[in-house]
């Protein structure tokens, strides 16, 4: 047994939740509260420091709780889990951006972390300047960058714009340039958050290729992603986090299957476990009705479906909107529907009620899908429940020809009309 390059022991991290102000209902009360508010604010701002034990009472939430694991040199580890499971907090602690509340990490190698591409990019500086700026922020020395400069420029493919301020680059070019710098890091430990989700498909492929190269060159990589395909592709082992704790740490296929399994059974879970952190319990139930109005989670490909959301809030919801997102097993977002987007107006909703979203043709290929539901009022998110509903799509006769595309070629079905002007009628 060799010494691990990363050992994590009983790592915990507490964050403070926002504290709600009491509202006063008399003039004297509000004036009094106004006079007192600097002191109240001071106490509140000071209490953001969760490191001192005296501050650890009250509304704090443990983003990580007693996490322990070890990583050997050369391993490529995927970190997966639902939103709010503590993945980002773990990466932030490992990359020394934030400090743990308790516990300890030992790193026996130089770490570079990539939680965002283009950190330190300044819009007024040229591409050339930003390569140096970004590179040194990521821990490279000027000499290292000098050596790799031509390679970086070639990888990014923005040679022509090298001496133009990046504010005049397209956002795509900025991302390319930023990723090109990051791709040429050579740390012993590389920590990557979901940064591959940027750029166009070609560039993503290039990045994934580069990541594979890094992984094969014997460096240790920690990789967070919602994209199970990418995790399975890159990682040998995976860690599954749930509510701040390690649920599984095993071979990648084992853990991803467990994760997908756990999210499938989420269909039968209660709302509270689907609710994202910091949200108010407003959405009471989410139900799927098939074309004939019968409840059930199985829908034929291309047929009608209705999603019924029941909610109950403490007070009416002014300027409200509801959103529904459908993702596949791999965690790729496929469809986003929103009342505001569809109708262009916010709607004042009563405190309690039902929202129905009718989808005349659900264009998903056979498979399992998950539904996320969120609601907002006055431009503020109120509630969001992830993977609250599981949809099973079964083969149907969408085109009336008895044929459907295979899932290798497509993710959705779509109506189209074909003309053959050169054939005789």
């Amino acid at each position: 047994m060799t010494t691990p390059i990363i050992s994590v022991e009983d790592l915990s991290k507490a964050y403070r939740l926002g504290i709600k102000d009491k509202t006063r209902d008399t003039l004297v009360g509000s004036l009094f509260a106004m006079a007192k508010s600097p002191f109240v604010n001071w106490k509140r701002l000071a209490s953001l420091d969760t490191h001192s034990p005296a501050n650890r009472q009250g509304e704090i939430v443990w983003a990580l709780k007693d996490v322990s694991f070890e990583v050997q040199a050369g391993e490529v580890i995927g970190i997966i889990g639902r939103n709010g499971a503590g993945k980002s907090t773990l990466l932030k602690i490992l990359s020394r951006i934030t400090e743990p509340t308790s516990g300890e990490v030992k790193l026996r190698g130089r770490v570079s972390s990539l939680l965002e591409v283009g950190t330190g990019f300044h819009p007024e500086l040229s591409g050339r300047d930003n390569i140096y700026m970004n590179g040194t922020i990521l821990g490279m020395t000027k000499r290292e960058i000098d050596g790799k400069f031509d390679e970086i420029v070639e990888f990014s493919g923005v040679e022509k714009f090298l001496d133009t301020p990046v504010k005049r680059h397209s956002s795509g070019m900025q991302v390319r340039l930023a990723f090109a710098v990051a791709a040429h890091l050579e740390p012993e430990i590389l920590i990557v958050d979901e940064v591959l989700a940027v750029g166009d498909a070609d560039f993503q492929k290039k990045c994934l290729g580069k990541m594979q190269g890094v992984a094969r060159s014997g460096r240790t990589v920690l990789f967070v992603s919602h994209n199970m395909a990418a995790v399975q592709n890159l990682c040998g082992k995976a860690i599954l986090l749930e509510q701040g704790s390690v649920i599984a740490f095993d071979s990648c296929s084992e853990v991803t299957n467990q994760y997908l399994g756990s999210t499938i059974s989420a269909a039968s879970r209660d709302m509270a476990s689907c609710r994202l952190t910091g949200m108010q319990p407003v959405i009471e139930s989410v139900e799927l009705l098939s074309a004939d109005g019968t409840p059930g989670a199985t829908i034929a490909c291309g047929s009608a479906a209705t999603i019924v959301i029941k909610y109950k809030a403490p007070q009416p919801l002014p300027a409200a909107r509801f959103g529904i997102r459908i993702e596949n097993l791999l965690g790729e977002n496929l469809i986003f529907l929103q009342s505001l987007m569809e109708h262009g107006v916010h709607i004042d909703m009563p405190a309690e009620g039902t929202v129905r979203c009718n989808i005349p043709e659900l264009p998903l290929l056979p498979g399992t899908y998950f539904v996320w539901v969120g609601c907002a009022s006055n431009e503020t998110a109120i509630d969001a429940v992830d993977r609250v509903l599981e949809i099973n799509i079964v083969g149907g006769d969408f085109y009336g020809s008895g044929r459907l595309p295979s899932t290798d070629n497509a993710k959705i079905v779509l109506r189209s009309r074909w003309d053959f002007p050169d054939t005789k009628a």
């Binding site: 060799t2 010494t3 691990p4 390059i5 964050y15 001071w42 701002l45 000071a46 953001l48 420091d49 969760t50 490191h51 040199a73 050369g74 932030k92 602690i93 490992l94 990359s95 020394r96 951006i97 934030t98 400090e99 743990p100 509340t101 308790s102 516990g103 300890e104 990490v105 030992k106 790193l107 026996r108 190698g109 130089r110 770490v111 972390s113 939680l115 965002e116 950190t119 330190g120 300044h122 007024e124 500086l125 300047d129 140096y132 700026m133 040194t136 922020i137 990521l138 821990g139 490279m140 020395t141 000027k142 301020p165 012993e188 014997g218």
Partner: protein, 306 residues
């Protein structure tokens, strides 16, 4: 985060195994909640020296990007203040200037003061305008405020050239006090760095500092002999039965000694204020030491509250 880079990981490990072990035992970083005094990690600052250079260079380059006058602004700011002060304080109010022409008397103070006030404002805001860097990547946090303090030296040098021109124009002969300039400049930077570490760390958690900055800088200016000579403050003063030394108390503000020193070195209008400089140096050292301690203690919060 406390880091130790030289502890051996596992002394019990057989030697043969660590030969093939890809893990570098000489390098180890321990991340844990820290307690007690936090000293400046010089070793780490040296490791990141290239980043520091680029941060300084970025501030300089970005500062006057897309402006017509560019570095000319480094001249305009103190020159305009000088003109206004000369009219208002020198001509209208008739404030004395230790025998030197009021314009050059004011400008000799405005060069270090403009540097100091700009370094203070920029340094205090340096963490706030770079919150995305704080929350996305690790580097010694101290580099952000310190780079602002260093970047302002360019403006200072340009203004110094103008000051030299003025001195030649007024035909003021040089004196040996010029030799003290490196110390005066060092003291000025140390004071700015120390205060900036206090203020920037506070500003991350309490935005009030940001809003109060204008006021703080203005108040500090009147506590510093910019528009008037320090000789207006008496050496001794009888307060009831006690004899107090107002000018020494006054010089706890290190910029008092710096500015009077600049005047003495460049204009020869008064003797080098050694006593003021001695008190100022001690207080600057205290400000810098306590500031870096406070900053190091607070920096673990930056990513969480910024």
């Amino acid at each position: 985060m406390s880091t130790t880079s030289d502890s051996i990981a596992d002394p019990g490990e057989p030697q043969t195994e660590s030969d093939t072990d890809p893990v570098d035992f000489d390098y180890e970083v321990i991340i844990r909640a820290r307690t007690g005094w936090q000293l400046i990690d010089w070793r780490e600052l040296v490791e990141y020296r290239d980043l520091f250079r680029f941060l300084v260079w970025r501030s300089i380059k970005v500062q006057y990007a897309q402006s017509m006058l560019g570095i000319g602004w480094a001249v305009i700011q103190p020159v305009f203040s000088m003109i206004i002060f000369t009219i208002v304080f020198g001509y209208l109010a008739g404030i004395e200037s230790d025998g030197a022409p009021y314009a050059v008397f004011a400008f000799a103070a405005l060069v270090p003061w403009t540097y100091f006030s700009n370094a203070l404002t920029d340094g205090t805001n340096s963490l706030l305008i770079n919150t995305n860097m704080l929350s996305k990547v690790y580097f010694p946090r101290m580099m952000l405020p310190l780079s602002a303090v260093f970047a302002k030296l360019i403006d200072f040098c340009v203004a110094m050239l103008i000051l030299c021109g003025l001195i030649v124009y007024y035909g003021i002969p040089p004196n040996a006090g010029v030799l003290a300039l490196p110390w005066l400049i060092g003291l000025m930077m140390l004071t700015a760095a120390g205060l900036v570490m206090w203020l920037s760390a506070l500003a991350v958690q309490y935005r009030d500092i940001k809003y109060a900055m204008n006021f703080i800088v203005q108040a500090l200016m009147y506590c510093t002999p910019v528009v008037y000579p320090a000789s207006l403050i008496p050496w001794t003063y009888k307060w009831g039965d006690y004899l107090i030394y107002p000018r020494l108390v006054y010089s706890i503000n290190p910029m008092v000694g710096v500015i009077e020193g600049f005047r003495s070195a460049l204009l020869g209008s008064a003797d080098m204020p050694w006593a003021l400089l001695a008190v100022g140096s001690v207080s600057a050292a205290i400000i810098a030491a306590s500031g870096s301690h406070f900053f190091r203690k607070k920096e673990r919060l930056f990513a969480d509250v910024a």
